[in-house]
Amino acid sequence: MITTRRLLGRSEPWVFAAILVLSLLIQVQSGQFYTGNNLVDLVRAMIVPGLLSVGCMMVIVSGGIDVSFTAIAALAMYVTDRILLSSQYGGNVLLAYAMSAGFGLLMGALNGVLIAFLRLPTLVVTLGTASLYTGLMFGAFAASASDVPPALHAHGKETLFTAVNPQLGLTSNMPSQVLILVGVFVLGFLLLRYTMLGRGIYAIGGDEAAAERAGFAVPGIKMFLYCLVGVLAGITGISRISMLEYADPSTFLGMELTVIAAVVLGGTRVTGGVGTLTGTALGIALMIILANSLILIGIPTYWARFFTGAVIIIGTGVTARQITTKRRLERVPSRKEAQAP
């Protein structure tokens, strides 16, 4: 049983409350939040950051950080797109996903080797590889916005249902890519909850030395994580350009910060060992609602970046504070014991 007090000590209920308050505020201000098309638009906007957040969350739980996944997504989808276009590929979209995931795997594996086996600092390594991949894309491939193969056009047009706003006459389509998002979240949840690998990810984040003593293959698990991030980034790339219906190499620039902020906001502890995918999903929802609704409540878009920064600082600050107070509380009884005769 989860008691109320224990629940309030976690981030998820607070993020959920923040979403509720924010949405009611927007509803009162504009009357446009709880409309079918706005909700569908919001879910649509959550697909890409949501897909990226799963891998990002697992890396942070393991005590690392990855800032290169957007660069991987961009390069993987761009190379795939160029190859398919030049070979005049007319077949299924699955091949595109497989190819892009494969390129993502390769790029993630480079991160993995450097971090897991050479034990280099994660931030510096991924900053470096992010620069490498972005530079390759714009330098070696001279990337610019280009068309996508017909399979991706069709894939982008697949809709599950259409929401109509009777007041404004606006319609929004729910893209089929949302199924991929749900699938990835479910698989991620199962992995973290029910497999030894998932327990290993938490164990490494909690205490790497202890995890090693407990028999977890630490380098192997880390290698798996960075490869997984690469694969997911590759898949995200194809989903993104299918929905856009053109391949824009700069479409992912700067998105890594939003994703990291959302993951941390959702209660994943940046020092590792703690975090849930439920929290991550809530974090993504909050960030997207915040970004998409600034206009609805009358704040100019110039301030969007300011809000991202403020949310990162407040979110991480609150989580970090919680940890310190919790530790202090835990320490009290032991001190009393020490004073007892």
Partner: protein, 346 residues
Amino acid sequence: MSTPQTAVPLQARKGRDQNLVRLFVMLLLVFALMTALRPGQFPTLANFGSMMRQFPEYGIMAIGISLTMITGGIDLGVVGTANLSAILAAKFLIGYVPQGAPPHVVVPYLVAAVLIALATGAACGYVAGILISRFNIPAILATLGTQQLYTGIAVGITSGRPQSRLPLLYSRIGNTELFDFFPLSFMLFVVIALGIGFMLSRSRFGTHMYLYGTNPKAARYAGLNTGSILRRAYLLSGLLSSVAGLIMMARANSAKAEYGAPYTLQCVLIAVLGGIDPNGGFGKIAGVTLAILILQFLSSGLNMFNQVSNFYRDVIWGGVLILVLVFNLLLSARAERRALRKREAA
């Protein structure tokens, strides 16, 4: 003030000096390579003049990042701090200096603008320091956040537009050259590099920074005010960033929220290349300065090849960063093996 303490044990010191020698050899090699490839363009006074105008702005930021990395943290907010400081100074100048005023009227305004920028930079750095020391936010996230926050404020108050039409006197002073050769920004860099280098190696604060970076817990048990050490380190980094911002403003004759975006990575690269340990506790400003020169030689040299796209620079920076990390790792592994063998022999 200058108690003769040695932060780094003698054995490690010797190793680090070898690092300086290695960097110096690397610098000579890059110089020789570029001279061989572009003999008519590279080893010329004009090229050196232009290089001296280019590196101080990111070099000063790299010194700031290095300070925070010595304490085991990192400051990813330097570029945002630099731009915000410059924008506030520019806004003040544009708003208050009367049009077409004679120089003696403008000078006090310029002094005030510089003070505004420096105060902004110091405040920005101090805020990051508080987030890290008081709220225990990991430095990476705190400064990723401040970078977004400061850039966000800069974009917000300017609506993303460049702040131009500064008084002419500002850029004229900013671009003065000593003996018609050494730009003011270069002189500033030299003064700052010497000052910070001296502070790190000779002052108590410098020693404390190394101590904290080597082992935060030990530093706390040794009775050091660790929070204060961190706050001062980040304050210094912010202050240096604002100097860089003022230099960028003089060079571009305007201030904009988006200036210098690639500098963050470049500065981290310089620090790591210069021998600053990302885990804290090691590194010297002399190494950082050599790394700055190596990168500037490379970058200016590459500029002389028309067929090399600017984007290859990203590839090279990223690649060099990773290679240097791996190389340092191999070296330290070798040193460890040697030490072990020596111990076995003894």
